[in-house]
């Protein structure tokens, strides 16, 4: 089986029952039940309980289900992990990761909780949220800190604060950080996930932002509104021409393997390892998009 797509990761406030129940309807690749920014300090316990009950009860279909937990240095971190593990989310997204140690700490705590809950150690994956200058600088070591790590996301709001700058529509202030996260994640073989775009009504701006993210090498984007999901999938969806060419590359490659021929060419271009890999990726994404019944973008 090919690895799961993480083009769209929909944030859902962890203390809002209606939004949690409806989240899978929009078929995001991942759902992130949020216990961090979306939940006020005095409702952390209620949200945690609700999320645990939701994980145990709801059928999220083909969606990957993650929980964004509070940062390692907050008073909620340990309780978040301890309470959530028995309900077995696919992954925990740790907020405000600044060092490999943050991940190691979560990894160890997860291991203990998994053992206590009778789960195989390593069952629950980790996603690291890089949201500060320090996190960006340490991205390479963070990305290698645990075999549980499957994705590394970038958060622009806190990041611009940490470098004492402001977000602009052009986003030059984010360019280095976004690229640094992509490089570290890709080097470690995990998925780089781009920051949220909070102007939910600005479809044109959002689309442009997703195009940039795709071009920079991100595997997907965090979404704050269901309507963004189809737009993300649309940008990440290969064009029919791309799919057609990829299918022919794969067909030629399969044929070459069967017949034992060495060098092959499609449309006069030599087909080698990277081209086959790329073709496979395009076909995988196309198949996955075909299966999702998303509403048309816009």
């Amino acid at each position: 089986m090919s690895k799961p797509l993480r083009r769209s990761m929909l944030f859902v406030p962890g203390n809002n029952p209606a939004l949690i129940v409806d989240a899978p309807v929009f078929l995001p690749d991942s759902i992130i039940l949020d216990l961090e920014d979306a939940v006020t300090v005095n409702q952390k316990d209620a949200a945690r309980e609700l999320v645990v009950h939701a994980l145990r009860t709801l059928d999220f279909g083909s969606c990957e289900v993650c929980v964004r937990i509070n940062g390692r240095h907050t008073p909620f971190f340990t309780d978040d992990v301890r309470t959530l593990v028995p309900a077995r989310p696919h992954a925990l997204r740790l907020a405000m990761v600044e060092s490999a140690e943050d991940i190691v700490c979560l990894d160890e705590l997860l291991g203990r909780c998994e053992s206590e809950a009778g789960l195989p150690v390593g069952a629950i994956k980790i996603m690291a949220a890089i949201e500060t200058a320090k996190g960006v600088v340490n991205a390479p070591s963070i990305s290698l800190a645990s075999p549980r790590l499957v994705a590394m996301s970038f958060g622009a709001e806190d990041f611009t604060n940490s470098i004492q700058s402001e977000r602009t529509p052009q986003g030059q202030e984010l360019l280095f950080a976004r690229t640094a996260v992509v490089l570290a994640a890709r080097a470690a073989g995990i998925d780089p996930i781009d920051t949220v775009f909070s102007l939910v009504d600005d479809d044109t701006g959002f689309r442009a932002d997703v195009r940039v993210a795709k071009q920079l090498g991100f595997a997907g984007k965090s979404c704050v509104h269901p309507r963004q999901i189809a737009l993300v999938h649309d940008v990440f969806r290969p064009t029919p021409e791309e799919v057609h060419r990829a299918e022919r590359v794969l067909a030629a490659y399969t044929k070459a393997l069967q017949q034992g021929t060495g060098v092959i060419a499609v449309d006069g271009r030599m087909v080698d390892g990277p081209i086959v890999t790329k073709a496979q990726r395009i076909v995988d994404i196309a198949n996955s998009s075909k299966n999702s019944q998303n509403w048309r973008a816009q």
């Binding site: 809002n16 029952p17 209606a18 129940v21 316990d45 209620a46 309980e49 609700l50 645990v52 009950h53 939701a54 145990r56 009860t57 709801l58």
Partner: protein
């Protein structure tokens, strides 16, 4: 283990799909449950069962539980009751 609730606490909200659960000490020695809900006539039995099940799980034997339901699904109701009872029980411990 049997706990009598001696403090007030609440959890949840009046948003659609949620329920507001208020817990208070009860006069008697059992769970006094009052539910106000638009879906009441069709889900009353299930709601009562869920609240009693949660209370039993937490070892609560006596409390006055007041619920204003806004169409909460069963798991939501259970989560809200759990939080409200836990909050009331923790208030006890911290004293």
């Amino acid at each position: 283990m049997s706990t009598l609730i001696k403090r007030c606490a609440q959890a949840g909200s009046l948003e659609s799909g949620d329920a507001l659960v208020q817990v208070a000490p009860s006069d008697g020695e059992k769970l006094a449950l009052h539910i106000k809900s638009k879906v009441g006539p069709r889900f009353s039995k299930s709601m009562h069962e869920s609240v009693h099940a949660v209370a039993e799980e937490l070892g609560v034997t006596a409390a006055a539980v007041e619920i204003v339901d806004r169409g909460a699904l069963d798991f939501v109701l259970r989560a809200r009751v759990t939080t409200a009872l836990r909050r009331a029980m923790e208030a006890e411990i911290h004293e």
